[in-house]
Subunit: 148 residues, 2 copies
DNA sequence: AATACAACTTGCAATTTGCAAGTATAAATT
DNA sequence: AATTTATACTTGCAAATTGCAAGTTGTATT
């Protein structure tokens, strides 16, 4: 029995999370898919941070393997691929928005409106529901049906 | 005017956060300092993930530069250094705990007790206050005085 | 049939990481 | 006073990862 070279990445909740989005690019891709309505490779590529194509492909497959994204060919055009956020991905919305509230407090150059933090703190459940409805709207538009 | 090689890392709240703890090791160090009462280089080094010494030194200085950690020599022993979490770091607690709640839901091998998520959801403010009090206790013990 | 999209893959240089070993300063021990 | 121990780093180097440019594949469009 030699000293293990890789650790068990499960068990500790923080470590589990770090294994999935404790990476700059995964983190930003989740932002794009959960908050900016992006679903395709080219849309992700267009984000201002400028991810390179090999890294994007790698991170998309990691997020798919982690059960965060659901990869499917676009029903409207078979040469296009869509990455839909799963329930597991949607469920990090509260934490993600919590992070954004924190950033708006400490980033002097924040672009977020002042109302953002206040409205989340006064009605967190309603805010999450609003974002979820937006996700449903985008996905429903692509899939060609609306959800209840 | 050539094409800029580094992007403006501010403005977008998610990007700001990604710049500070969108890194596995920074993320885990914040866990150690905010939730596990760790304050010194050797304590961080002892965490089960096995960070190497050069990376630890690098991440500690980054977190200090980002205003997340307050580096001070230990008043009890001048050969030792303590890294105290700042208010800015403490304010990430709600999001961090939100992430942990998410992990306990999706990590089959989670070590967190079932009560954890429930107690945070029923009384988020009280839960945060409890963690803050723990941080005060640890810091007060080191500094040799107790806070209100 | 030819062109254009969209989503990747490949090759390679440059940066970052991980590991082992070394250094610096202060405290404790002999 | 001299030696050992503790603590917090720094340095060197091989290995892994990243970023950039270019190429490939499958599907529309003209």
């Amino acid at each position: 029995m030699t000293k293990p070279r890789s650790i068990d990445w499960n068990g500790c909740p923080t470590r589990y999370a770090a294994g999935i989005f404790g990476d700059k690019w995964c983190f930003l891709l989740l932002r794009d898919v959960l908050l900016h309505g992006k679903r395709t490779y080219s849309e992700f590529l267009g984000s201002p941070e400028g991810i390179s194509t090999n890294i994007l492909a790698d991170r998309l497959s990691r997020l798919e393997a982690a059960g965060m994204l659901d990869r499917q060919t676009d029903p409207r055009k078979a040469s296009r691929v869509c990455y839909f956020p799963t329930r597991k991905a949607r469920d990090i919305l509260p934490a993600l928005i919590g992070v954004m509230v924190w950033s708006t407090k400490y980033d002097a150059r924040t672009e977020a409106p002042e109302s953002f933090a206040a409205s989340f703190q006064s009605d967190p459940v309603g805010t999450i529901e609003w974002y979820e409805a937006e996700i449903d709207r985008v996905d429903g538009e692509i899939r060609g049906f609306a959800r209840g």
